[in-house]
């Protein structure tokens, strides 16, 4: 069982690596989206490995189901055709500078993670969905209500921003 988990972890890591390289490096934005979706599914697999199937399902439902469709709409509405927006790649100097910035941040954080190991329980904790629901209705009820307000406001704001005035100019 332990070996199966290791194999699955390696597989998901490969999916995440390949997907994020495609999402960042692809010339066409649609291909970048396919890479992003692969990454999201890999992260959902990681949630499964962490013994939190509810989070995995929410990841697939919210990210793969809703957010990727939104971004596809953004690609379609801005008419970013296959070879258009990202066709000419960034100049080499900019690429090198971005790489330097990323490596400095990643180096510092990676050093911190590697040199300060936390005391861990070997096996992921099991949390039942009932406990999550009770948490949402009990101690974290305010955050739950606030996030629904945030979602409502952002939806209304999006409608307001993108509203095409008929009798205007």
């Amino acid at each position: 069982m332990e070996d199966m988990a290791k194999i699955a972890f390696g597989l998901y890591t490969l999916i995440i690596l390949g997907g994020s390289v495609l999402a960042v490096g692809a010339k066409s934005l649609v291909r970048a989206m396919v890479g992003l979706i692969a990454t999201l599914l890999g992260v959902a697999g990681m949630y499964m490995l962490l013994n939190s199937p509810f989070m995995a399902l929410m990841q697939i439902l919210i990210y793969v189901g809703a957010i990727s469709v939104l971004i596809f709409f953004a690609i379609m509405l801005t008419r970013a055709d296959a070879g258009g927006e990202e066709a000419e790649s960034a100049p080499l100097r900019q690429n090198l500078l971005s790489l330097l910035a990323v490596l400095s941040v990643g180096g510092i954080l990676g050093w911190l993670v590697l040199t300060r190991p936390l005391a861990t329980t070997g096996v992921p904790v099991e949390v039942s969905i009932e406990k999550l629901g009770l948490g949402l209705l009990g101690p974290y009820g305010l955050a739950f209500e606030l996030i629904s307000v945030v979602l409502l406001v952002s939806m209304a704001g999006a409608v307001l921003l993108a509203w095409e005035r008929r009798n205007g100019k």
């Binding site: 989206m33 989070m55 941040v105 948490g135 974290y140």
Partner: protein
């Protein structure tokens, strides 16, 4: 190397990929994709830290759920802003959209 460290390293890879993308992409949609990568790294890190340590596991999972909700709200608003910019400038390249004049 403990399992938690491995999960944190994967989350770090996601963060680095997103950071590189946001620095190097030349269109707004590409930058939005990179932001989603970074948010996923954050969620994975939170869930791993709460599931594999004696910390409050319910808090970790619900926190990641809230991160997902905020990501959905953010994607909605960014989509609207991108549509407005595309209508006004005719493109979403960041090099073109650099004027502050109204």
């Amino acid at each position: 190397m403990s399992a938690l460290t491995l999960y944190q390293l994967v989350a770090l890879i996601l963060l680095m990929a997103g950071l590189f993308g946001i620095a190097q992409r030349r269109s707004l949609v590409g930058m939005l994709i990179s932001v989603e990568l970074m948010l996923n790294g954050a969620g994975l890190s939170i869930v791993a830290a709460s599931q594999l340590t004696p910390a409050n596991a319910v808090l970790g999972q619900l926190g990641t759920l809230f991160v997902m909700g905020l990501a959905a709200a953010e994607a909605t608003l960014v989509l609207a802003i991108i549509v407005v910019i595309a209508r006004r400038f005719g493109t979403t390249k960041t090099s073109v959209v650099s004027t502050l004049k109204g």
